[in-house]
C-alpha cells in the first residue's frame, strides 16, 4: 500500500519518505538529567543546554535517527562545590572536552509505543556503545506536537568519568542513569 501510494505520488513523495519527520526540541519544556548514586543515595543533576537533532517516525524507524549534543559546561547539581568538581579533571574535564555526543546507529520498536536506540556516546574523547530506551507520545498529532521520554543506564567509568579517588565505586556508583523528557514540534 505504501509502495502504491509512493508510486502514485511520484519521485517527490519517495524522497520525502526517505527521511523521517524532523522534530525541533522546545528547550523550555524539555529536560535532560543525570542520576548518580552517592553513598547509597541518589541525586539528580541536569544539563541546562543541549541540542537534539531528531528525525523520528514510528512508521519509518529505518530512517529515524537521534543526535544529541550536550553542553557539559551546563551541568548543574544544586551545589557549587560539586558543580565545580564536575567540570574538573576528575569528571568531565570540560576545558578539554566540553561536549558529550550521542549518535544513534539504529532504532527498533519494543512494542506499545516504546523504542530502543542503539548508538555511540562520546564523553572525554571516549566512544562507547550505549542503548537508550524511550517512549514516543504523539501528544497532539494535528498540531505536530509530541513528547519523547526515555532513559539510558550508563557506566561512567567506561568513559573515564571519575578519576583519582572517584575511580572507586565504593562511594560513587559506576552506574549513572540519564533521563530525558523532550517536548517536540514537527519541523516544517
Amino acid at each position: 500500500m505504501v509502495l502504491l501510494t509512493a508510486l502514485a505520488l511520484g519521485p517527490a513523495a519517495q524522497d520525502a519518505a526517505a527521511v523521517a519527520t524532523a522534530w525541533t526540541v522546545d528547550p523550555a519544556h524539555s529536560q535532560l538529567t543525570f542520576h548518580p548514586r552517592l553513598a547509597g543515595g541518589e541525586f539528580a543533576g541536569r544539563f541546562e543546554r543541549f541540542d537534539a537533532t531528531i528525525r523520528f517516525d514510528p512508521a519509518d524507524l529505518e530512517h529515524s535517527s537521534l543526535l544529541i549534543v550536550i553542553d557539559l559546561l551546563s551541568a548543574l547539581t544544586g551545589d557549587t562545590d560539586r558543580d565545580a568538581a564536575l567540570q574538573g579533571s576528575d569528571f568531565f574535564q570540560t576545558t578539554r572536552w566540553p561536549q558529550g555526543t550521542f549518535t544513534s546507529a539504529g532504532i527498533r520498536s519494543l512494542g506499545g509505543g516504546r523504542y530502543e536506540a542503539t548508538g555511540k556516546l562520546t564523553l572525554r574523547d571516549v566512544t562507547r556503545d550505549v542503548r537508550v530506551q524511550f517512549r514516543f507520545d504523539p501528544v497532539e498529532p494535528s498540531r505536530g506536537a509530541a513528547r519523547m521520554i526515555g532513559a539510558s543506564n550508563l557506566r561512567r567509568l567506561e568513559f573515564g568519568v571519575g578519576q583519582g579517588d572517584w575511580r572507586s565505586t565504593e562511594w560513587l556508583d559506576d552506574g549513572v542513569r540519564v533521563e530525558f523528557n523532550l517536548a517536540l514540534r514537527a519541523a516544517r
Binding site: 553513598a39 547509597g40 543515595g41 541518589e42 551545589d79 568538581a85 562511594w171
Partner: protein
C-alpha cells in the same frame, strides 16, 4: 532490670535509648569539624555521610524514645518542689525539641543542596525541601545555632542531675544510670 519503666526507675529500653542517643550525639560535633578541615573531595564526603547517618539515627531513636515515653505511663515521676517539677518538665521538653530539630535541620540542609540523606546507605530518606542555595546557607546557620542551644540545655540537664545526686542525694540520677538498681 525490667524492660518497661517502673515507678522507681526507668526500664532497660528507656535507659538504652537515652544513652544510645548521648553516645551518638557526642561525636557528631567532632566529625563535622574534622570534615570542615578537609579539602573538598571524597574523604570529606565520607565523613559527612557518617555525620548525616548518625544524625538520622539520633532522629529515629529520639522518636522511639518519645514514643516509648508516651506508651509508658507508669514512669518515675519528677521529684521536688512544684517549681522544680515545672522546670524539669520544661527542660526535658526543650531538650527533646532541640534533639529533634537538630537532625531535621541537617536533613533539610542536605536536601536544599541536593545531597542525598541515607542511613549508612541502607535506605534513602526523601528530600525535605527542594534545591535552594539561599535556603541551604540559612539552614547551615540554623544547624549551628541549634547545636549550641542543645549543648547549653544539655549542660543544664547534666548539672541538674549532678545537683540531685550530690547535693540532694536523692535517686534521680541513679534511676537513669545504665547498670544501677534503685
Amino acid at each position: 532490670m525490667p524492660l518497661r519503666n517502673t515507678a522507681e526507675a526507668y526500664g532497660s529500653l528507656a535507659k538504652f535509648l537515652h544513652w544510645a542517643i548521648v553516645l551518638l550525639i557526642v561525636p557528631q560535633y567532632f566529625i563535622a569539624e574534622a570534615a570542615e578541615e578537609l579539602p573538598k573531595g571524597l574523604e570529606r564526603l565520607q565523613l559527612m555521610d557518617w555525620h548525616k547517618s548518625l544524625g538520622m539515627m539520633v532522629l529515629l531513636l529520639t522518636l522511639a524514645r518519645i514514643g516509648w515515653k508516651v506508651m509508658n505511663r507508669g514512669m518515675p515521676g519528677p521529684i521536688g518542689e512544684p517549681w522544680q517539677r515545672k522546670a524539669a518538665a520544661a527542660g526535658h521538653g526543650l531538650l527533646y525539641l532541640l534533639i529533634l530539630a537538630q537532625p531535621i535541620s541537617g536533613w533539610a540542609m542536605s536536601s536544599a543542596a541536593n545531597y542525598p540523606v541515607t542511613l549508612f546507605g541502607w535506605f534513602q530518606f526523601p528530600a525535605l525541601v527542594a534545591e535552594n542555595h539561599d535556603l541551604h546557607e540559612a539552614l547551615e546557620e540554623v544547624h549551628e545555632v541549634l547545636f549550641f542551644l542543645m549543648v547549653a540545655v544539655a549542660v543544664v540537664h547534666i548539672l541538674a542531675a549532678l545537683y540531685h545526686h550530690f547535693l540532694l542525694k536523692d535517686g534521680v540520677l541513679r534511676r537513669m544510670l545504665p547498670f544501677s538498681r534503685p
